[in-house]
């Protein structure tokens, strides 16, 4: 067992750089989430509307995105955009990649939220003769939201962690900063452990918050 000492001074000195990376991580998560929520809604609406020719393409696309690694999707976008004449920053490409990848899961969440509605609710709405718009807005949506919100929250947490993949396409987020510091100083223990700690503390706290909010809103009372 080689003698190893945790260098507190070193650890303390790299905090500002790590925080700079964390800032990008949070921004990427924020924008990526917004993209995923919006796109997921688009996929869901297209699926429900059953537009000939468009819907099957969208369904296949969603399946395709879910069935392939995010890393490869990011690489692909990062390298193909310049070839197509699209000039997006690495950060924007990363946000887009995250957003599209996760939109496939968001669409599933929306679908699960809607399909979790007991069939009796649909039957009551039908037999009362409620107009379709009212059924969606006043009956389905308010009930589905309660199921959907915690799931979306957990997804944001997942995206927060997986934003670390952006380090592979030159975005200087948290993991990239850690790797960078490690390679420059050839001391990886402190940077990578602290990176892990940042991810852990934030994601664990957020997950606990979501779980406790779930239980307090569990019953319609």
């Amino acid at each position: 067992m080689s003698g190893f000492h945790w260098d507190w001074q070193f650890a303390w000195s790299i905090v500002p750089d790590l925080l700079a990376g964390l800032r990008l991580t949070i921004l990427a998560t924020l924008f990526g989430s917004i993209v995923s929520f919006a796109l997921g809604l688009v996929w869901t609406l297209v699926r429900l509307a059953r537009i000939p020719r468009v819907t099957p393409v969208v369904e296949f696309f969603v399946q395709f995105v879910r069935g392939t690694p995010l890393l490869v999707q990011l690489y692909f976008l990062f390298y193909i955009f310049p070839e197509w004449g699209v000039s997006l920053s690495a950060f924007a490409t990363g946000v887009l990649g995250l957003g599209v990848f996760y939109s496939a899961y968001t669409a599933e969440i929306y679908r699960a939220g809607i399909e979790n509605l007991p069939p009796g609710q649909w039957e009551a709405a039908l037999t009362l003769g409620l107009p379709i718009r009212r059924v969606w807005l006043g009956i389905v949506l308010p009930q589905s939201i309660r199921t959907i919100l915690p799931m979306l929250g957990n997804q944001v947490i997942g995206m927060f962690k997986e934003s670390s993949l952006l380090s592979t396409i030159t975005v200087m987020e948290l993991l990239a900063q850690g790797n960078n510091i490690g390679s420059i100083n050839f001391r990886y223990v402190e940077p990578l452990t602290m990176v892990g700690a940042f991810y852990f503390v934030i994601s664990y706290t957020a997950a606990r918050l979501i779980r406790s909010s779930e239980s307090s809103h569990a019953v319609y009372g």
Binding site: P69, V72, W136, K161, V189, L192
Partner: protein, 241 residues
Amino acid sequence: MNSAGSLWGYLPFLLMGIPVTLEITFLAMAVAIPVSVILAVSRNSRLAMLRWPAGFVIELFRGSSALVQLFWAFYVLPFFGINLPAMIAGVLVLGLNEGSYFSEVVRAGINAVSPGQREAAVTLGFSPLYRFFRITLPQALPIMIPPFGNALVTMLKFTALVSLVTIQDLSFRANLIGTSLGRSGPVFGLIIVIYFILALILARGAKLLEHHVNRQVGRDLARVTGATHSPVPEWALGGGV
């Protein structure tokens, strides 16, 4: 046009990444399965001495991305004198990571077996080990297979990450080829398609396994999994939202 020709030349090298990718997928899965079972049983245990460490491990691996964990295993462990070969580090990390997530599925499966089963087995004098493997597990299995199919595909996607710690899988080779050609876009486009095909094959295999297990254990168990799952009725779709 020039690079397309060269890409063709690199194809054999690229395709040799497929067995590597699949090998890691299955090896990591072989680690993940026992890990998930051990963690699940520990979490359900009445002994706090089993519950807490299991909970700790689960939260630890779920607290950051597999990539962070891979880098940590690859770059930090050597400083503690632990020099894992890349393959072992990759398989272990992916296995522990996926195992932690999958332990929740296993727990759900075990808990879905009605407590009456355990009670009957206890009163009949069966040992805990026998109870678990012959009574609980066979009934929990059908419930766990569909999520298992998902886990398998997820694992396949995870393997792409090991390319970043020098393992010569599909993504690693694509990266190399792209650098050699000076043009990476098409190569990655190609391997995305390859990954998708592999994922379809794995998903199909999992489906077959599901049918086989259902037939073995008694088909009506498949009904247990159906929570309220009511697709949107026809009338609500007419004329748009």
